[in-house]
Symmetry: C2
Subunit: 415 residues, 2 copies
């Protein structure tokens, strides 16, 4: 059985060494790691072939098989990802604020690494390199627990990355992988509070729920997105169609895709037939309330459950409302605090929506698909936070840091 | 039994109304609440007398009785506390950052309330008014669970505060108290994740541990402080004595008091006798390693456990080291990430200490007793965070906020 205590101790030992690295040294290490991933791709692909074979034998679903599969192009993308991270500005060490107190104490708020990050994810080997890159660039040691179905692939990738660190005399324990399929080990990992400062689950709602319930380590919840677009009575209807089509169908399996449409009753007759036409080419199934079904007879009647569902599929729920306030109340009831949009030409309505809808990202006249680290200009992201503590929305390098106060005195004591 | 679901729903309903209040309206409400506390002190003191009587009958320890006791002066202090909070700048609504993307999207990062805050604390009725004031000024609804021994006092205070809100047509559910002594209710409260955005335990290490283990709500850990002072070989020894005397004895029961002294072997012979003399007048018990006991024969031999103990008493553990690195390693092993200090005239040593000691507040030549919201210039504080997520060190009003991204578009969709 995996000795988690020992892994924790090793991570803590590595983090001190990491914090002494210069931005140049970190960048060089990530670039070398990228080179080695390409050079040793045969070895990674062989390991991945084993995982694929076992997964096929276990009748893994087509979508999951696709996520598990590696090829030359995907390994190149991983390597490029590391190079991109190396090119991002290093946030560690930044003096965020500085002030002097009347007693002469100088207080400096300094950005520091979080320390040791734990990441639990599903059978997607590309996350392995990504998560390492983001944690390493912020001088955090990381312990990964990937999906068991990707264990051979992950182990091969981690081996290459650790050996690249070692070539540069950087402690390889900056990156560790839990190579164990036993669920009890995963649960014990969630309780390794003595060594791990934050645990980030990436994956399905079920995975995240399990981490929230079991972890004693502070958790950042990511990823569940029941995102809404509200078409106001003062909307530009063509713009609304274009935004919903993009938010629903540009990529269906992602957390920032639109799952539910809220439409003002005043414009439903003019709007819904336009929308139907735009979504028909993608065969989007519509599930609406009575007033929607009156206009779109082919629509299925939506249940209460529909409004709470993140479909990740070519399905859209539709709800009619009689006011902006009703729209906001509906969205605050069913959303997952991820991303919601209003389409309107009315500035006052938009400002009220942006203020009152409780979500990490609130949009006025733009697709929810922009909730993304790259689209926000942060570069690569470790996930989209849907909680309110620490970080909200796309989490880039800065969100993988904490801070400390350095206080400079000359003998001050408290009277 | 307390209907926690209903309390959660009421808090969520109140939070929306709170977020619509102007800074003036919030200030007025806090000032009115302060007036009412003074006017209705008789009723609060009567309730407190009941708690005190029951506590005495249960043989509550003297120190705890003192924390539980209210009098006119303490009620005045509570009222003044609310007025001070009302005078602090309102952080909600601040545009923290704003930028435009190449596609024309404008992104605004806006400071918003966290939403609903839960606070679990011990039998200290003054925390009731304090916690309400800080949460209210940041437009957060709050649900309090105070120590059962203070239930009558807390209920009386909460009644006065809620009625003050009601006078101003502000939803009284901005402040709710769990009036239940059943521990099962407290545990259920820790799992009210659907409604509560953050849970802050204030009190003993045991209380905090229990919250961390049981809560599914994100927790901010506060308060445990095993704080160190390291006297370097290049220290000004008189300054070191003055800092340790202050940090150890100015107030013993607080989390930023010094519990452990680390001393460089080169100066132990010159320094320890000086220190003994300074601490003798307060009868501080010294517990040291062999090399300390050689110089201070009256010192008790320190055990491994001593170095890990937050005494909150007139006791100091002492450890001799032969280098700065050894001092840092010792502190990182035993501290609680709260506050640690180096006394030295050597800038290089100081910088290394400030960088490598893992604590919320790291001091150079100043007492650890300055880790405090008022001393930092933040005004009142909700606690001192000892974790790295969200907030670290003294938590004032800003630390009771989150943020959201408001994204302004003109029909942008993702290509």
């Amino acid at each position: 059985m995996t000795d988690l205590q020992q892994m924790g101790q090793r991570a803590v030992a590595a983090k001190t060494a990491l914090q002494a690295l210069s931005p140049q040294e970190k960048g060089n290490a990530l670039r070398l790691a990228a080179v080695r991933l390409i050079e040793r791709q045969e070895e990674i692909l062989r390991a991945n072939a084993k995982d694929m074979e076992a997964a096929r034998a276990n009748d893994m679903a087509q979508g999951l098989l696709d996520r598990l599969r590696l090829d030359e192009k995907r390994i190149r993308a991983m390597a490029e990802g590391l190079e991109q991270i190396a090119a991002l500005p290093d946030p560690v060490g930044e003096v965020m604020e500085e002030w002097e107190r009347p007693n002469g104490l100088r207080i400096r708020k300094i950005r520091v690494p979080i320390g040791v990050v734990g990441i639990i994810y599903e059978a997607r080997p590309n996350v392995t390199a990504d998560a390492f890159g983001l944690c390493f660039q912020t001088a955090n040691a990381v312990i990964l627990k990937g999906g068991s179905d990707a264990l051979c692939s992950n182990a091969a990738i981690v081996k290459v990355l650790r050996e690249a660190l070692l070539e540069l005399q950087i402690p390889e324990d900056a990156l560790q992988l839990i190579e164990d399929r036993d669920r009890a080990v995963t649960v014990a990992f969630m309780k390794l509070k003595e060594y791990i400062d934050v645990l980030i689950p990436r994956g399905s709602a079920g995975l995240i729920q399990s981490v929230v319930e079991n972890s004693t380590i502070p958790v950042i919840e990511t990823g569940t997105g029941n995102c809404h677009v509200y078409v106001d009575k003062d909307a530009d209807l063509d713009m609304a169609v274009s935004i919903i089509k993009n938010a629903k169908t540009q990529r269906i399996g992602v957390c920032n895709a639109c799952e539910s449409l809220v439409v003002h009753s005043d414009i439903r007759e003019a709007f819904l037939p336009k929308l139907r036409q735009a979504l028909a080419e993608k065969n989007v199934e519509l599930r609406g309330d009575t007033r929607v079904c009156q206009i779109l007879p082919e629509a299925v009647r939506a249940t209460e459950e529909d409004y709470g569902t993140e479909y990740l599929d070519y399905i859209l729920s539709l709800k009619t409302v009689d006011s902006l306030e009703e729209a906001i109340a509906h969205i605050n009831r069913y959303n997952t605090r991820h991303s919601d949009c209003i389409v309107t030409e009315n500035r006052e309505a938009a400002e009220q929506f942006l203020r009152e809808v409780d979500a990490a990202c609130v949009y006025w006249n733009a697709s929810t698909r922009f909730t993304d680290g790259f689209e926000f200009g942060f570069g690569a992201e470790i996930g989209i936070s849907t909680q309110k503590l620490h970080a909200r929305g796309p989490m880039g390098l800065k969100e993988l840091t904490s801070y400390k106060y350095a206080v400079y005195g000359s003998g001050q004591v408290r009277p």
